[in-house]
């Protein structure tokens, strides 16, 4: 699980935000495992869930406030 969490964090460092399913595809992991890992990462405060029409995950601390957002 720790290895998977590290991969997720590494992937999210390179994007603004992403759906867990896309993360699972991109890093070649099982979607349910990615969901679990994301839950743990959120509880640890390393990632945050983001809702813009639909839900995404993003690295903690990134500012997605409308008007301030700068998509990468």
């Amino acid at each position: 699980m720790e290895e998977l969490k590290a991969k997720i964090l590494e992937y999210l460092a390179g994007v603004s935000k992403e759906k867990p399913r896309v993360i699972a595809e991109k890093i070649g992991a099982n979607k349910k495992e990615v969901d679990k890992a994301c839950s743990e990462l959120a509880k640890e405060g390393k990632i945050e869930y983001l809702y813009i029409g639909t839900s995404y995950v993003t690295l903690a601390g990134r500012d997605h406030t409308p008007g301030k957002i700068k998509e990468e």
């Binding site: 979607k31 839950s39 983001l50 809702y51 029409g53 639909t54 839900s55 406030t65």
Partner: protein
Amino acid sequence: MTEAKKTPLLDELEKGPWPSFVTEIKKAAANSPSAQDLLGQLELSYEDKRGHWKHGGLVGVMGYGGGVIGRYSDIPEQFPNVEMFHTIRLNQPSGWYYNTKALRQICDLWEKYGSGLTNLHGSTGDLVLLGTRTENLQPFFDEVSNLEEHPFDLGGSGSNLRTPSCCAGPARCEFALIDTTDLCHDLTNEFQDYLHRPMWPYKSKIKISGCPNDCVASIARSDFSIQGTWRDDIKIDQEAVRAYVAEGFDIQGLVIDKCPTKCMSWDGNELTIDNANCTRCMHCINKMCKALRPGDDRGATILIGGKAPILQGAMMGWVIIPFMKLEPPYTELKEFLEKAWEWWDENGKTRERIGELILRLGMRNFLRAVGLEPVPQMVNAPRANPFFFWWPEETVQD
């Protein structure tokens, strides 16, 4: 506080005999700067004929992805007190039963951390608290979830399971055929993680009605509509039927002729029901509740696919399981929900609800995935169009 402005357009909404949300916001504005700016921004929206709210941003509480909806004004320089005006959803008690202490606790906290404006209840069913700033979210949640006597959890938002909701159920209604409040509470606890952390293509809703009257409109408002029903015969008290008629009740015009399947007849002395052709619409029982009662073999019909418009337009749920016994711990229902969500999660596109996915990939694919056999009740519109297409290998070719 921003200077109070005139609101001639909003004032129009106070006219007439009905309660007005404008009146209530004006009352709140006496003590709440954000309520005052809310009135100002709303008036401007009516003048401009467009909303001035931006949707989104990163707001929430630690570890959660649901329960908080971010709202920002696009004209914060004019209305600084609604620069941030986030909404919090609290998970309501099943059937919306509160005591006054619980409500007072929430209102006190909401005056401390928010605008003081509430909406009981939002369309999802939650207790909705309107308008707070980002920095107030975590302290509010920490307090409301640790209230000594009546702690509250956050409700659902985003690509989550939305807060399950149900009708008032057996506590108040003679027609409740299942214990809606217990089922709602049980499902909420069972799937709590799905409520709090988004992991699906889009939202998913469960709404529960105790009988086919469907007072909470679960068929139109939820992906999974659960409606209490029965599968044995309607119980008839013939003496009570005759008493209705003796008192001048037009049984032919009000009941017999309005039966959607014409399965009832009245010979002047006795009421007969062809129960095999009854669709359990409840009309006759509603009209003659002293004479007719639902049967004793009770459970629920499960419908799938109801939703408001986005991708495919508004859809009503259709029957997927005509009858399921529903008793704690509701294992069969939970297994069905898990299988359906798993198939949807694997195959759904972003913002595609499960009903839309079934339309796109076909009912037979869905049924195979969840292990259900096709039955005649699975039609898109009753007596109109067949909804299930057989697999080629299962058909006999001439």
